[in-house]
Amino acid sequence: MNLLLTGLNHKTAPVHIREKIAFQPSDIPKAFQMIRRSTQIRESVILSTCNRMEIYAVTPTEEMNGRLSETLSQFHQIAPTLFLPHLYVKTGIDAARHLFSVAAGLDSLVLGENQILGQVKQFYRIAQEERNLGTFLHRLFRSAIEAGKRVRHETAIGKNPSSVGEAAVELAQHIFGELKTKTVLILGLGKMGRLVLDTLAESGISNLILCNRTFKQAQDMAKAVQGTACPLEDLDKALLKADILIASAAASDIVLTKKHLESVMRERRNAPLFIIDIAVPRNVEESAARLENIFLYNIDDLEKIVRKYHQSVQQEMTKANDILEEELHKFKVWQNGLDIVPTIKALTGKMEEMKKRELQKILSKFPHLGQNERAALELLAHNLVNKIFHRPLVELKDYAEHPLKFDYLEVARHLFGLDGSNDA
C-alpha cells in the first residue's frame, strides 16, 4: 500500500500543456470512474487549478504510475508524449511533503498565496462526495489543510515579495487598489515579461493585450492566455486602454520616449499608467518617470525591492518549512500507529490493564478471601478477557494484506478506544 503522486505544475509545464491536462471540477466524477476501471486505484484525489494538475492516489503496487498516465492520456485525448516529459512522480513521504507544501502555498507562483488552500479543500471535498477516499487520504488531506492554515497563521509568508513579478503586483495594488478590472499591455514576449505577466494574471487580472513585432507570435500567445493580440503599429491605441504596461521588447533603441508618452497621457486624460520596464536595454526613456501619473519601474528598481525583503522571505520560508515538517511528523506517527503490530500491542496492553484494575477492585472489597479463591477469580478474569478478544485479534492479523487494511484498523482503534480519545 503506497501513496503515489503524479502531476505537473507551472514550473514543469508551459500553459498550453497545462490547459490540455486540466480537469474541470465537473469532470472529476467521470475521471474517478475511469481511473477505477483501468487501474486498481480505489482511493484518489485530483487537484486541478490553472497552475497545476496533480493526482494523489493510494496504490496496491508501486507500478501504477504508467497506468495512471495512460488513463490521463485517454481521458483528455492527447498523446502521452506531449505531457509525459513534464510529469513528476513522487511516492510515500515525498508525495505527502509535496501536498503539504502545495497547501501552504510554497509551491505557488505567488509565494504563500491564499487561493490554493481553498482549492485543495474544494478538490478534497469532491473526492469525499464521490466516495473516492479512504482513511489514509482523508487523514493526509486533513493534515495538509491544517499545515496550510498554520503556515498562513504563524508565518508572514506571502507578505513580502519574493520575485520581481510579485513586487510588480504589490506596486500595482498600491497604485490601483483592486486589480481585477485593470488591463495589462505586454510589449514584446520575452521570457521575463511572460513571468511577470503570469504573476499579474495570478492576482486576478484578466484583461490582457499582447503586442509584438511578429504579430503571429502575439496571436498564438494571446490564444493561450485568453488575451487579445495587437500589432506593433497599434501600440498607441493599446496604450489608451492599458493601466499597466509591461515593456519587455528586445529592441536596441528606446521604444517609448518621454515626449511620446506625454502625448499618450494627454489622450488618456491623465489616467495613471504603471510601466514595468524589464527590457535590457530599456524600452522606455528614463526621464518619463517625471511625468505626472506615470509610475515607471525598471528591472533594477524591482530587483532592489526584492533584495531588500530577501532576508525576511528566507526567514519566513525556514519557519514555514519547520511547520510542514512538524505536521508531517504528526502524520507519520499516526500512520505508523495505524499498522497491525502496534494496534495488536495496544489492544493487548489495554485489556491486560483493564483486567488488573478490575481484579484489584474486587479483591480489595473481599480481603478475607483465601489463596485458592483468589487464584480462581484471577483465572476467571484472564479467560474471560482472552476469549472475548481472541476473535478480534485473529481477524486483525488477517487484515495485513487486505486492500482496506487502514479502514479496518481505524475502526478497530476507534471501537476499542486505542487512540486515547474515547477512554472509558
Binding site: 513580502n160 515579495p161 513586487a167 504589490e170 506596486l171 495594488q173 498600491h174 497604485i175 490601483f176 487598489g177 494627454r266 486624460r269 491623465n270 489616467a271 495613471p272 518617470a289 505626472e292 501619473n293 509610475f295 519601474y297 528598481d301 532592489k304 525591492i305 531588500k308 525583503y309
Partner: protein, 264 residues
C-alpha cells in the same frame, strides 16, 4: 459638569485617539485602529456636549468644524474602510480644538433678534459642514501626496502598505470635494437670503463674503479642471491643499480684519 470640563475631556481624547492611530501606522496593528476610532467617538460626543450653537463665537465655530471633520472621517471609515486616514483626521481635529482655546469660551447670552431663525442656522451649519468635509479632503490629499512620493522614491513598500492605494484616494477626494462644494453653494445662497432680509441687500462685499466667494471659485476651478481639462492625480490634489489654506483664511483669518461677519 461644566462645558469647560467636557471641552478638556474632548481635547485629551482627540490627543489619545491620535496617539492610537499613530501606533496603528507605526506598528501596523489593526487593533489600534479600532481603539483610535473608539477614542475619537468619545472625543466627538464630549466635544458636542461642551458647545453652544456657533452664532457669534469662534470658539464654538472651530469646535463644530473639528466635530464635522471627524464625522466626515467616520462616514468614510464606515463606507470605505481605508487604512491610515484616522491619524490625519484626528490630528486635524486636535489642531482646530487647540486653536479654539486661544479664543474666549464664556460669553453673555445673545439677545439680538436677527441672530435667531432657521435661515441663519442653516447658513452657519452648511458653511461649517462644507469646511469640515473639505478639511477632511485635505487630510486625504496629504495621504495621497505621501503615497505618490513614496511610490516614486522606489525605496520601500512599508509606507505604501499603511496607506490606501492612489486611485482610491483620488476618487475619495473627488467625492468629498463634490459634496463639500454642494453644501458650500447652498450655504452661501442661504447666507444671501438672510442678508437680504436683515442687511437689506443680497451681497455686500464684506471681506468674509469676498474670501468665501474666492474659496468657492477656487473649488469650482478644481471641479472644472478635473471634469473638463482631464486633470488627475497630484496636480488636482495640490489644488485641494491650497484650497484648505483658503478655507483657514476665510474662517479664522477674517477674524482679525473688520468685517460684519467677525466673531466676538
Amino acid at each position: 459638569m461644566t462645558p469647560k470640563f467636557f471641552w478638556i475631556f474632548a481635547f485629551v481624547f482627540y490627543g489619545l485617539s491620535n496617539l492610537s492611530f499613530f501606533l496603528e501606522i507605526g506598528l501596523s496593528k489593526q487593533n489600534f485602529r479600532w481603539l483610535g476610532n473608539g477614542l475619537a467617538l468619545v472625543a466627538v460626543l464630549s466635544h458636542v456636549a461642551s458647545l453652544t450653537f456657533p452664532t457669534l463665537h469662534i470658539h464654538d465655530a472651530l469646535g463644530l468644524l473639528a466635530i464635522l471633520t471627524l464625522i466626515s472621517y467616520f462616514v468614510v471609515e464606515w463606507k470605505w474602510q481605508l487604512r491610515g486616514l484616522g491619524f490625519l483626521a484626528t490630528a486635524n481635529a486636535f489642531l482646530f480644538t487647540l486653536i479654539s482655546i486661544t479664543f474666549p469660551d464664556r460669553f453673555p447670552p445673545i439677545n439680538r433678534p436677527e441672530l435667531s431663525g432657521s435661515v441663519l442656522e442653516v447658513h452657519i451649519v452648511l458653511m461649517i459642514l462644507s469646511f469640515g468635509i473639505l478639511a477632511f479632503a485635505f487630510c486625504v490629499s496629504v495621504a495621497y501626496l505621501i503615497q505618490d512620493f513614496i511610490l516614486r522614491k522606489k525605496q520601500t513598500l512599508q509606507v505604501s502598505r499603511r496607506l490606501p492605494p492612489l486611485n482610491t484616494l483620488d476618487l475619495l477626494i473627488n467625492r468629498l470635494v463634490g459634496l463639500g462644494f454642494l453644501f458650500m453653494t447652498i450655504g452661501i445662497i442661504s447666507g444671501s437670503v438672510w442678508a437680504a432680509r436683515w442687511w437689506g441687500h443680497w451681497w455686500g462685499w464684506d471681506p468674509k463674503q469676498i474670501l468665501a466667494l474666492l474659496t468657492w471659485i477656487f473649488y469650482a476651478i478644481y471641479i472644472y479642471t478635473r471634469t473638463l481639462s482631464g486633470w488627475k492625480g497630484k496636480r488636482s490634489v495640490i489644488l485641494i491643499v491650497v484650497g484648505f489654506a483658503l478655507i483657514l483664511i476665510t474662517f479664522v483669518g477674517t477674524n482679525f480684519i473688520p468685517s460684519r461677519h467677525q466673531f466676538q
